[in-house]
């Protein structure tokens, strides 16, 4: 209990209140504690009788009234901006009450001297100027108290030291004249001798008032309450009530709120004398906002549940509607955000999904599912970016995923790989730059190349002889005549081929090297390698080759290859939904850099196809049929495999891609640099071809994700399958010329493929020839 306050009250009310208090507050330990102090005070003023009802009220509510917690206002040198308040008048600024109450001169004067304080602002008129300063007759108060002091004859001295000098040349007093209105701060009050000194220096003002400018005022600048006060004192009809009603501030609709703030009363936790309305009795969970929050959460959760149910039944649109409804009800509902994010991720909108998960984690940083999903989606998104060659961004995403869940193996793997890749690609770039500088002149090499080609050709002839002889001998020894016929036909064909071959080889010998090298590499995993070929390939490896000049057949080739890929892509797309999503991504963001890889890989793939078909072609019929059987089986298995692995493949494809790219570029780094960035890109201007290639690259990378030979063959089979279809499509669609040639070649050679074409021209025509031939061979196999 506030002892001073209680004493003040007891002084006012006297003995009777004390007695009632003692009755009413007997059980209050606080009151008992202060009781001894109060006994002394009470007896002094017993004669004034108040209303017993009021006294009873005070006595009963004493614990509230005199509780220290009851008082919320604190003594602050309040005053909002006084001048601003006067201009806008957010509440009625009233003249001092004394004017209406007609308080006696003597009392007002003594109270004024009692209450005036250092730092208050007064307004006065200069009545006398001396060399040591000027004297003011105080008119009114301008900050702090609002009192009626005009007729109190209060005089105040402003010393010359307290006048700020405006220049060095003049006497500061010369600026002031008798009759000027001056606003000044109270510097000192001598209450016994009733002397007031004021100052014009801003520093003399109390902290809350120091924005008030001191100095000379015009008549219009005098405080409003003063002017209203003089009007009221001159006109007796101007009562307090009337003035109040004419004030703008009185009609301000927000006046109550403004004044409540001014007197420091909280209207959110309003005070009350009623015991049942004490603010401590209000529980936070009973407030409207918290109930609404809880309710919204529960309503939203209901929607989320419905949405999840829809989702489980595959009704994704309905699910999305429910989630959106939930979020409308409860903007930051964590469950709804997570569920919607999962749906987005499922639909492939990874960015939206990430945003949703992030929002969820913002309001609930420990949500397990949100964390898990976000981590997964980040990795997924990282892979997408990797596919677009945005390695650094992707790396950032992996790091973020790891920061969410540092034990996530996928993110760890991906991060490892990508850092490797980044380092390698940096190194490769440097190497490429270095090589480019030391690149030998083209003229000197062309002779070399020619020589090598001739050498190769010779060797090839020899080889062909050998292979046909061996073939025929083997067929004679163990197989029936059909095999020999096929072998002979193949010989015929191969002769024809050779001529063409030479021509085309000249056109793109560089390409032939690459493809043969690639084909060698693709062969490596196979068990059917024979030493002879190996040797030949070793020789080939020694062959030097050079970066493609810009705008060569390479670009040309790619464009032609376009329609073929599409078929492939469609076949692939059927195989798995998820890959289609992948494809969509690549559609939306085909990056330029990807072309080099894809086109190269495409060529490589074809070479491989060719190889695999060739490798089998010279074999005996029975083996053919056997291999066909196996192939069919393998194809099935491969498809299953691919379906089963589609998920993991999609994930690993990029890594594989990466690996492959690295291995490729380490072997033919110059090519990759050159052709990738210079020659091929300009050729593939259209985004369609770009994304097709992307698709292709993806496909090929998938194929390469199998490391052992068995898978390789499977792949090759599948590849054959798809290429077969492609040829069909191709023939009907665009490349009529190609078709003709392929038909021709097929018509000429109706036996199995020839070893003659092993190293072969990379040109598309030949590829198609090969494919067509292979088909023939396949078709011929079971018949015989």
């Amino acid at each position: 209990m506030d002892r001073d306050l209680l004493r003040q009250s007891l002084l006012y009310h006297g003995e009777s209140l004390f007695n009632t208090l003692k009755c009413e507050q007997t059980e209050n330990p606080d009151f008992q504690a202060v009781l001894p102090d109060l006994c002394k005070v009470t007896s002094e003023r017993g004669e004034e009788q108040g209303s017993p009802l009021v006294e009873q009220f005070i006595a009963r509510k004493a614990d509230i009234l005199f509780s220290p917690a009851w008082k919320t206002a604190t003594l602050q040198r309040e005053e909002h901006d006084e001048e601003e308040e006067e201009a806008a008048e957010p509440y009625a600024i009233m003249p001092p009450l004394e004017i209406f109450m007609e308080v006696s001169y003597q009392e007002r004067r003594s109270v004024m001297y009692r209450d005036l304080e250092r730092g208050d602002v007064v307004v006065g008129r200069i009545n006398n100027i001396r060399e040591y300063g000027f004297f003011l007759t105080l008119l009114c108060m301008a900050g702090g108290l609002k009192r009626d002091i005009e007729d109190l004859d209060l005089s105040a001295l402003c010393h010359v030291k307290e006048i700020p000098s405006t220049g060095s040349h003049d006497d500061p007093l010369s600026y002031y004249q008798i009759g000027d209105f001056i606003r000044a701060g109270v510097k000192d009050i001598d209450r016994y001798q009733e002397k007031i000194t004021v100052s014009l220096l801003q520093s003399c003002l109390s902290p809350g008032l120091d924005h008030i400018k001191l100095g000379v005022l015009t008549k219009e600048e005098l405080p409003i309450h003063y002017s209203r006060g003089t009007r009221a004192s001159n006109d007796s009809s101007q009562t307090y009530e009337r003035i109040l009603r004419t004030c703008h501030g009185y009609h301000n609709p927000c006046v109550v709120d403004y004044l409540l703030e001014k007197v420091q009363i909280s209207d959110i936790h309003p005070p009350s004398m009623m015991r049942g309305l004490q603010s401590k009795l209000f529980k936070e969970e009973d407030f409207a906002s918290s109930i609404r929050k809880k309710q919204s959460a529960s309503w939203a959760l209901k929607c989320v549940r419905a949405g999840v149910d829809h989702f489980k039944h595959g009704r994704h649109v309905e699910a999305m509607n429910e989630y959106n409804k939930a979020l409308e009800i409860d903007t930051n509902n964590v469950e709804a955000l997570v569920a919607r994010g999962a749906l987005y991720a499922n639909k492939g909108s990874l960015l939206k999904a990430i945003t949703n998960f992030e929002q969820a984690l913002e309001s609930c940083p420990d949500h397990r599912n949100a964390k898990k999903y976000l981590c997964q989606t980040l990795v997924e998104r990282g892979k997408q970016l990797e596919e677009q060659e945005k390695l650094v961004t992707a790396e950032g995403l992996y790091r973020r995923a790891l920061s969410l869940d540092d034990s996530n193996p996928e993110a760890q793997d991906a991060l490892h790989k990508i850092t490797d890749t980044i380092q390698k690609s940096i190194r490769l770039r440097e190497e490429a730059l270095a090589k480019e500088q030391t690149k030998p002149k083209g003229g000197q090499t062309s002779a070399d190349k020619l020589r090598k080609i001739l050498k190769e050709e010779k060797r090839m002839k020899k080889k062909r002889k050998r292979s046909t002889s061996s073939l025929s001998s083997s067929s004679e020894s163990s197989r029936n005549s059909s095999a020999s016929s096929s072998s002979s036909s193949s010989r015929r064909k191969s002769k024809k081929k050779k001529k063409k071959h030479r021509r085309s080889e000249r056109r793109s010998k560089r390409r032939s090297r690459i493809s043969s090298r690639d084909s060698r590499r693709s062969e490596e995993g196979k068990n059917e390698k024979d030493g002879r070929r190996e040797k030949e390939e070793d020789e080939e490896e020694e062959v030097e080759w050079y970066p493609a000049p810009p705008n060569t057949s390479a670009t040309f080739l790619n464009q032609k290859g376009g329609p073929g890929f599409r078929v492939d892509e469609e076949v692939e797309a059927k195989e798995s939904d998820e890959r289609r999503i992948c494809h969509l991504y690549s559609l939306s963001a085909a990056s330029d850099n990807g072309d080099s890889d894809s086109s190269r890989r495409e060529r490589k793939r074809r070479a491989k196809t060719r190889k695999s078909s060739q490798s089998r072609s010279p074999e005996k019929e029975s083996r053919l049929s056997r291999s066909k059987e196996r192939r069919d089986k393998n194809r099935q298995r491969g498809k299953e495999e691919s379906r089963r692995n589609s998920d993991s493949k999609r994930r690993s494809s990029l890594d594989e891609n990466r690996k492959r790219k690295v291995s490729c570029s380490s072997a033919d780094s110059e090519f990759s640099r050159k052709s990738g960035f210079q020659s091929e890109y300009p050729g593939n201007g259209s985004s369609a071809s770009k994304h097709l290639e992307k698709r292709e690259r993806h496909e090929s990378s998938k194929r390469n994700s199998f490391d052992d030979g068995r898978y390789k063959t499977e792949d090759a089979d599948r590849e054959k399958e798809s290429s077969k279809r492609r040829v069909e499509e191709e023939g009907s669609r665009s490349a009529g010329r190609i078709r003709k040639t392929s038909q021709n070649s097929a018509g000429n050679g109706d036996g199995p493929g020839e070893s003659a074409k092993k190293e072969l021209p990379p040109h598309l025509l030949n590829i198609f020839n090969q494919i067509a031939q292979f088909e023939k061979e396949k078709g011929a196999g079971p018949k015989k």
Partner: protein, 258 residues
């Protein structure tokens, strides 16, 4: 305007019935009038509490109470469910005083008031029925009051008076004494009773300041007129005493009712 003979078409709902039971169990021995006064007191307490929980300011709550008292001045207490009327008054007062309160919040808070600790209502038929009742009851109130729903409140008088009186007092003495808080609390409490519609706003405001100053024994300078005399042209000591005695009765009532 004639009072509808029947109750509201929409059912007030389970929570309201529960509250009614709580009321009727209080005092059977009382006469009709005192029972009615007590009932109104409890409903007003409900308005006050709900107002605080809804974050309503003092003036809208005061408007809600005046709406309630004026409504039941015109109609029989038995004809309407008072708590439903109170909810609608809160809703209407929010509109009148430009502090719009959503019916959903009013229903939620009321539901929890009657079923303390209960889970929030589901978004089902019960909820929508309650909402319809509140909105329809609001229309009934409007028609009963002839659409005269804006009132002059003592609040702004009180605050202006406080500022004027403050200047009469030594500032340290003023800040030591919680006259502003007390008078504001008294004014809010005064709306528990129907008397708030019988006194003029200025008289109420002066009486509140008077009682607060009196309670703390704050000394004001004496002039030819008393401070309270100049604040309002027609106020007399009797007016002030009447308001004060009405208010003090309410505090006695609290002890009896709750």
């Amino acid at each position: 305007m004639e009072a509808p003979s029947s109750r509201l078409p929409a059912s007030p709902g389970a929570p309201l019935k529960l509250a009614a039971r709580r009321d009727s169990s209080a005092g059977e021995a009382d006469s009709d009038s005192t029972r009615e006064i007590k009932r109104h007191f409890r409903v007003c307490r409900f308005i006050m509490e709900t107002g605080v929980k809804l974050g309503m300011r003092s003036v809208p709550v005061a408007t809600a109470c005046v709406l309630y008292h004026r409504f039941f001045k015109r109609v029989n207490l038995a004809a309407y469910e008072p708590y439903l009327v109170a909810m609608s008054c809160l809703y209407l007062a929010g509109k009148v005083e430009e502090q719009h309160i959503r019916t959903r919040d009013i229903i939620n808070v009321s539901h929890r008031y009657f079923n303390s600790g209960s889970a929030p209502l589901e978004c089902d038929k019960e909820f929508w029925d309650l909402r319809d009742s509140v909105v329809q009851c609001e229309l009934v109130i409007l028609r009963q009051l002839n659409f005269q729903v804006s009132f002059e409140h003592p609040h702004k008088y009180l605050l202006h008076y406080l500022l004027s009186v403050k200047s009469l007092v030594n500032r340290h003495a003023w800040y030591r004494t919680p006259v502003a808080e007390t008078s504001w609390a008294l004014l809010r409490d005064f709306y528990h009773g129907a008397m708030c519609i019988h006194h003029t706003a200025q008289h109420i405001a002066i009486a509140m300041v008077y009682l607060a100053i009196n309670s703390y024994g704050v000394e004001l300078p004496d002039g030819e007129k008393q401070w309270w005399q100049v604040l309002c042209d027609d106020v007399t000591k009797a007016d002030i005493d009447a308001v004060i005695s009405d208010l003090l009765q309410l505090y006695d009532m609290e002890a009896k009712c709750i």
